[in-house]
Point group: C2
């Protein structure tokens, strides 16, 4: 007897789960399409070399690698143990890997299909990704990303439109209290320069700063020290973050104050760009945050992160990555995007009970047709077909059975109506409808049954 | 510079592809839901032991296996080469695998969640599966299966309803010339007994018979001999298939004739069951075919296969498998299902040009808004938002650019309308709409623009 649990960190989605997931995905698709974004899908499996080296050292480790097959595996496994080291083992044994995010495959697709794609390619992609992470509460090894990206323009109109589209999605889902934190990699670079962090240590500093929310200023100071950044620079850095973020009130004034605090640190050009985004996306809850760092190394410009008060971590994030597509093709093509985490959104919506009743209390059918006896099966199937052609979702009890058992099953699957088709009803071309909520029972001529259920 | 092609046997789906796939999937879902089937999703990755041994020896070989990670891999790779053999290598190096079909995961889920699921569980599942097959025309290593299964009943009502649902789907998609071939594993067993094939050779014989369509009677005779089935039995077997299939006319008569030819070979009980399916699904193009074998070993009762004249191979198939769920749980639960091959359906629909025009000639947006200058970006974004709130899909040219270039891009993405917002239009709260098909241009007040596009 085989084990029946899904693999570690993976989940089965029963019908009630799938319906909630599809409700959220449906709204995401609809809004992205209203902004002119088009759907793209890429394979779950990529060549290992496509993924390796794109996500940093930690990322490489978390990629699920697929074993070579047949002869190739036997040949590759024929090296002697003395030669073996871990990275060598990987190269010898694996040639394919599971998709780790949707951004690297997009960059590959854009480089590969450049001539078939429009000059500006606006795409969304909603697919699972896999990471060999240690499973924890809310952290899975298979999860969905809902990505939206615009390829081919450096204009800050793109950043603004992405923010507007994401805002529209979250509002349609019923979120009223989210914040889109905005920063720019050059703001961070200028702050690091001002604080005296040497250029070659910027990457280290960003990794530490990225944890400010989680471990606080003290924790970051400690990590900066561990990563070889001098105490003076670290103190000044944290000071600048404190100063530039001094908040005057809760409205638009906040962003203006932060910008003015940055004037002597950050170049005018970048501040103008940020100003444009803030103006264009004026209706969106954007909050400038000079300490926002984002983990991924491929970002080159604006970076975003969406937070809600009751969730540690973010609902999603993104940024501009003008250098990534060039890793796959001759041409350097500017790009910017957002990724929403489906599971994060679902967790908050579940806790806050944000699903509309038709999703939260869904049933497999509008009506169940009973089966009276072996001899009347054909007639029950015919009634079901009639009700379906009137637009109803109809399930048929699958076999002749005691009436009580059939009603018990109808209760179990929570159908609102049962259509009873006994010998009397069949003889008179009628059907008895039972309203499962009120218990009320009424007999109709067959043609009127569907209308009465609706 | 990394390679940009997708992995061997895998495909990228650009927007036009995704739209066609989603059109077909949408109809499949809608019909299955109208029959009371509920959505289920399972992980792409399963424990290796869940899959091994369920698909026969050939199947085991075609399963994509995932390499163990980190410490576990290093430990497992530490065996000496003298001990190594292929199956051992696999067990040492791999613990997970990619989903190979949707039936085995369903059996696992049913055994695992028995108490949460209704007594009869009717589910559909539309997800990709992966097979390390040699890629060929129309054969991919990642492809979608659209499965529908009913769990918990042995009644032939199930077979009939599945046939009716699949028929409804294919008709909705526009197929008029498909045939659902029907057989029963016991019909095959009784024919094999009558021909004198010993019981322990039934499996071998079925593998050979499964190829009748591809390699003809002569080829099957040869393969039967190779598999150690005596010449007398082989000749009689092929004779019975010829006799029982003698076709009298094109109508219902065919099935009746076949049944009458089977009377002395097959038990009454099975023929009665088959008769029920033929009666219940009377409106469906079902064709009894005593030689239909189906490759998979887990079928125990009725088996189906859907064919169209212009496609070698089938659009889908299925059958009853009353023993599979018991491999995962204490309880033996009857089950029956159908699997449609999305790619097969798409290939035929593409060749026959069966897609409706709104799918075949789709565009990313109903209208594109131009950008006049840096100063008018905010106004263009505002117009786009107005048009969206009127229900239109709107894309905005992402940056100030020469008018000619903006129009060229609009042409490239095939939008039907362009909304020109120049300085004059802004000053007068108007917008100029250009119909991209006729070239006609007209200026409207902003409030009326959306209505004119619709």
């Amino acid at each position: 007897m085989s084990k029946t649990n899904p693999a570690r960190g993976m989940r089965d989605f029963l019908p009630a789960d799938v319906r909630k997931r599809e409700y959220v995905i449906g709204i995401i698709k609809e809004v992205y399409e209203s902004y002119g974004f088009e759907p793209l899908e890429t394979p779950a499996v990529e060549n290992l070399e496509t993924l390796m080296g794109k996500y940093g050292e930690e990322g490489n480790q978390l990629i699920f690698k697929i074993l070579k097959r047949g002869e190739k595996l036997v040949q590759s496994a024929g090296f002697s143990p003395s030669e073996r080291d871990e990275s060598r083992t990987l190269n010898e044994l694996s040639d394919l890997a599971l998709r780790y995010d949707l951004t690297v495959p997009l960059a590959r697709v854009v480089a590969h299909h450049r001539n078939e794609l429009p000059k500006f390619f606006k795409r969304y992609q909603i697919q699972p990704v896999w990471r060999a992470d240690r499973p924890a509460r809310g952290r899975f090894r298979e999860f969905y990303q809902c990505d939206v990206d615009a390829i081919g323009s450096s204009s800050m109109t793109i950043e603004a439109e992405l923010i507007m589209a994401v805002t529209a999605i979250l509002r349609r889902l019923g979120f009223a209290d989210f914040t889109i934190r905005l920063n720019h990699r050059e703001v961070l670079a200028d702050i690091l320069d001002t604080a005296g962090v040497p250029a070659e240590k910027h990457g280290d500093a960003l990794v530490a700063i990225d944890k400010l929310d989680k471990i606080g200023a003290e924790g970051v100071a400690k990590e900066l020290a561990e990563r070889g950044i001098g105490e003076a620079a670290a103190t000044m850095l944290l000071d600048i973050f404190e100063q530039t973020q001094k908040i005057v009130d809760d409205g638009k004034e906040v962003n203006r104050t932060i910008v003015s605090n940055l004037v002597n640190i950050v170049s005018n050009e970048v501040l103008t760009d940020i100003g444009h985004v803030l103006t264009f996306a004026g209706d969106c809850p954007v909050q400038l945050d000079p300490s926002l760092a984002r983990g991924l190394s491929y970002y080159t410009g604006a970076i975003f992160e969406i937070t809600v008060p009751d969730l540690a971590g973010s609902l999603g994030g993104g940024g501009r990555y003008d250098g990534l597509i060039g890793m796959f093709g001759k041409e350097q093509i500017p790009a910017c995007g957002f990724s929403l985490g489906l599971e994060r959104i679902l967790v908050v919506m579940e806790e806050r009970r944000m699903f509309p009743p038709e999703i939260a209390d869904s049933t497999p059918a509008d009506v169940m047709v009973t089966i009276w006896s072996e001899e009347t099966i054909a007639e029950s199937l015919k009634l079901a077909a009639e009700l379906r052609s009137a637009g109803l979702r109809v399930t048929v009890y699958p076999e002749p059975d005691k009436f009580g058992k059939q009603m018990k099953y109808a209760d179990q699957i929570n159908v609102p109506y049962v259509a009873v088709l006994g010998e009397t009803e069949i003889a008179e071309s009628k059907v008895t409808l039972k309203n499962m909520q009120t218990g009320e029972q009424k007999t109709f001529i067959r043609e009127e049954a569907a209308r009465n259920i609706k």
